[in-house]
């Protein structure tokens, strides 16, 4: 009797577990299908956009009047950005697909720059027309390859989830058809990378500039680096430091120092260039728990810090308090012109006024003897170029880097429209609005407790 009861109970348990397992399995499948569908959508959209891109580039070329290209180029720009967006949703980031992404960026950059410029006055040059042709041709090849991969995926019902598995596994990921296809595409894109469309601008350029700036300076050794750090930091007591050298990936060589703060035992991290011994950044790992001094006092301390370390003519251009830390942005000032490209950021702890952060990348990269720049527009002339509803509150002369990454002399206007503050750079030479920036308001604290 008891036996049959036990058997009955066990049977029910087995059936129950089986049913539960079946539900779990179904659920898992549903989720897998859902992510697979997301991938499929991104993939097919990508392919659609590449198709579309090729066509649109074609119709840009076919247009007779070079002056009316803007709408068509804007479309090209929009499509590239959509394609980039699709790429961002595919699990490709750990595989070499960057050349295709760069290619898309180039097309986008080229089309944007030419779409916004006044083609009526300044039509495409013969050379630019050639690059456009070249881009058309290249996008055609990519489109062809992409179609091949797409039809293969459709034919063989290939799954992106398998791509993910293949990429995640330690084995050679080479035996997945989709991955193979994408590698072919990327190789193609790599071959025509130098297509006279200009270099891909990005922050990496700053490394080159730093490398150039310190090129001719004398090399220092580790001990000297520690000494420089000691002087820079101005902490009492002897510094103990671990020194490492940076690898080949960086255009310049630098020492990375890990220093124990002799005053309170926190770690301070610092990078100093090997040539010339220029401090690149400084960071102290310390949670500042209270604010004893005012932001103003801290800003004076930051200024002193810069003066002491040989940064001359620096002016405070922005200050902010983040809880108990003051963050100050300084710019180099020459002849009453704020040079925003030679900027440095200093962080000061508001409890004991220690400098706990310094960053001088752009200062080191850009600070040099400049040819004096002359403004051909007067301030009033520049003011006329502003939106009439802007109430101007402050004006400075400034040197900034515009979108084409050139240093230009500008009038910097701070003004107010309807309680919102804007910062507008008007080129002092040709009156162009180089940059219009809405200054963020303080952000409300959303507290749902």
């Amino acid at each position: 009797m008891i036996r049959s009861v036990i058997i009955g109970v066990l049977a029910v348990a087995v059936l129950g577990t089986g049913y539960w397992g079946y539900l779990e399995h179904q659920e898992k499948n549903a989720i897998l299908i859902q992510s697979e569908n997301n991938y499929q959508r991104a993939f097919h959209e990508l392919s659609y956009n590449l198709d579309h891109l090729h066509d649109e580039l074609g119709s840009t070329l076919a247009m007779n009047s070079k002056e009316r290209l803007s709408p068509s180029l804007t479309d090209v720009w929009r499509i590239t950005s959509e394609a980039q967006n699709d790429l961002g949703q595919l699990p490709l980031s750990l595989m070499p697909f960057s050349k295709t992404e760069e290619f898309l960026y180039k097309i986008g950059d080229f089309s944007y720059r030419n779409a916004v410029r006044d083609l009526e006055q300044d039509p495409l040059s013969e050379e630019e027309y050639e690059s456009l042709k070249e881009l058309y041709h290249q996008s055609g090849e990519i489109q062809g390859e992409m179609r091949k991969v797409q039809s293969m995926v459709l034919e063989d019902h290939l799954k992106w989830m398998d791509v993910e598995m293949a990429l995640a596994s330690q084995d050679e990921p080479g035996d997945n058809a989709i991955i193979d296809g994408f590698e072919v595409i990327d190789e193609k894109a790599g071959q025509f990378s130098e297509a006279s469309v200009g270099d891909v601008g990005s922050r990496t350029q700053q490394d080159e500039e730093i490398a150039k700036a310190v090129e001719d300076l004398e090399e220092i050794d580790e001990q000297e680096a520690v000494n420089i750090a000691g002087e820079f930091l101005d902490r009492k007591g002897k510094l103990e430091a671990d020194v490492e050298t940076t690898g080949d990936g960086l255009d310049y060589k630098a020492y990375s120092l890990t220093i124990e703060d002799p005053e309170d035992g926190h770690y301070i991290y610092m990078d100093i260039t090997k040539k010339g011994g220029k401090p690149l950044y400084l960071l102290e790992d310390r949670q500042v728990e209270s604010a004893e001094v005012s932001l103003h006092e801290a800003s004076q301390k930051a200024k002193e810090f810069l003066d002491k370390n040989g940064f001359e003519n620096m002016q405070l251009v922005d200050s902010r308090q983040y809880e108990n830390v003051g963050v100050f942005e300084f710019a180099y000032v020459v002849d009453d012109i704020r040079v925003y490209t030679d900027a440095s950021v200093i962080e000061v702890a508001l409890d004991n006024k220690d400098v706990i952060g310094y960053e001088g990348f752009s200062y080191i990269a850009n600070h040099q003897k400049r040819k004096p720049m002359e403004a051909s527009l007067s301030e009033d002339e520049a003011r006329e170029r502003l939106n009439p509803s802007l109430e101007v509150m402050e004006v400075h002369k400034a040197i900034m880097e515009n979108e084409l990454e050139e240093e230009v002399l500008c009038y910097e206007f701070f003004g107010v429209i309807d309680d919102d503050t804007y910062r507008i750079f008007i080129n002092a030479d040709n009156g162009r609005e180089e940059k219009v920036q809405k200054m963020d308001r303080a952000e409300p604290v959303y507290d749902f407790d």
């Binding site: 961002g88 949703q89 595919l90 699990p91 980031s93 750990l94 595989m95 760069e102 960026y105 950059d109 993910e164 995640a168 990005s202 922050r203 490394d207 940076t246 690898g247 080949d248 990936g249 960086l250 630098a254 990375s256 890990t258 770690y267 991290y269 990078d271 950044y281 960071l283 949670q287 604010a291 005012s294 932001l295 103003h296 922005d318 200050s319 902010r320 308090q321 983040y322 003051g326 963050v327 950021v345 962080e347 952060g357 960053e359 990348f361 509150m393 107010v416 309807d418 309680d419 503050t421 200054m439 963020d440 308001r441 303080a442 952000e443 409300p444 604290v445 959303y446 507290d447 749902f448």
Partner: protein, 361 residues
């Protein structure tokens, strides 16, 4: 343009009144204390709250009182300094604080209570404060003004001279007070300036806390409830770096915490910097969440560790990175050599090793 002119005139008018008050009220006004600090743009805290409240009291500041010395406050301070012959440098020093203390009132208890309760409120002079507060967020129906006061209120001289165009007739006894006209509060300020600022003159429209004319503000008549129950606390504010919201910072801090907790501090800043470098880079998405949630980009996203609550260090690291720090040396990738599965990642030129991570181009 015209309204600017008008505002200017009014401010001038008020300036004169203030000067008169100097003489009359000097002994009777016991000032609430600022601390000794010189208040500078970018500052946050109680002194800024007091500064904003006092500037609002005399109609120089129309924005939200939130305790952050941002651009709105900056321009108000400069206007004040220009008008009263101080050097317009945006620094609030002892002299300006003295002047403010002498000429304005600051109801510290009221302002801080409002901030704590997360209400919308204003702090204009010459209006009863209970008319200047919005309803409490969090479900309770707001009662901006106590009922008995409203019908009998305009007994004093609520409107004279200053802003006749705005107010066609005194609304004595009108039950829906102030509903149709949102009177900009600074209109009301000068009129009552002649009286003792601390006496509660009744102002019918006082409870519309318009931070600025022309802005869209719901009328807060007691009859209607403009604020749904789940309204968040939005009066207090914090500084965020240009171009990033606090939520962006939070997402990034979660990513940094998931990826690099337990790493040395530079390692954490470097991870945050890599996220920012990717945003800048043409080959990656160009916003924080795009980069972070890119499939297979970060292991902490893939295994769900990104949903852990980040600590202060991670947040600090993100802020440092946004402020320009980059210990990674412009790296776009990093990997843990002990667990890296992709052979390709090893082929990237390496920049440096911080803690467990190797950063590469």
């Amino acid at each position: 343009m015209k309204s600017h002119e008008g505002r200017r005139l009014k401010r001038l008018f008020f300036a004169v009144l203030v000067c008169v008050q100097f003489v009359v009220l000097l002994p009777s006004l016991e000032a609430q204390a600022f601390t000794d600090q010189v208040i500078q743009k970018g500052a946050t805290g109680d002194d800024v709250v007091e500064l904003q409240s006092r500037l609002q009291y005399i109609g120089f500041y129309h924005d939200t009182i939130d305790g952050v010395y941002g651009y709105g406050t900056y321009w108000s301070v400069k206007k004040y300094q220009e008008e009263f012959g101080l050097e317009p440098d945006g620094l609030v020093g002892p002299k300006m604080k003295d002047m403010l203390k002498r000429t304005t009132n600051f109801d510290k208890e009221y302002v801080h209570r409002m901030l704590k309760e997360g209400r919308k409120f204003t702090h204009y002079g010459g209006m009863p404060l209970e008319h200047q507060k919005g309803p409490k967020p969090g479900g309770k129906r707001g009662k901006p003004a106590p009922a008995p006061k409203q019908p009998s209120a305009p007994g004093g001289e609520p409107q004279k001279g200053g802003a006749p165009k705005e107010q066609p007739s005194p609304e004595a006894g009108t039950p829906q007070k102030g509903a149709p006209q949102t009177e900009a509060p600074q209109e009301g300020t000068p009129e009552t300036g002649t009286e003792q600022p601390q006496t509660d003159t009744q102002q019918p429209e006082a409870e519309t806390p318009a931070p600025a004319p022309g802005e869209d503000i719901p009328d807060m008549t007691p009859e209607e409830d403009d604020f749904p129950g789940d309204e968040a606390d939005i009066q207090e504010a914090i500084n965020t770096p240009e171009g990033f919201t606090d939520n962006d910072i939070q997402i990034m801090a979660q990513a940094v915490y998931g990826e690099a907790r337990g790493e040395p501090y530079t390692g954490q800043v470097a991870v945050a910097a890599v996220i920012l470098n990717r945003i800048e880079s043409p080959t990656f998405p160009n916003n924080p969440s795009g980069v972070i949630f890119e499939p297979r980009a970060f292991t902490a996203v893939a295994d769900g560790q990104i949903n852990l609550e980040p600590d202060d260090t991670a947040r600090r690291a993100v802020l440092d990175a946004i402020n320009g720090q980059d210990p990674s040396g412009n790296a776009l990738y990093y990997f843990n050599p002990d667990t890296a599965t992709s052979g390709w990642i090893w082929s990237r030129p390496q920049i440096k090793r911080i803690g467990k991570h190797i950063f590469c181009e």
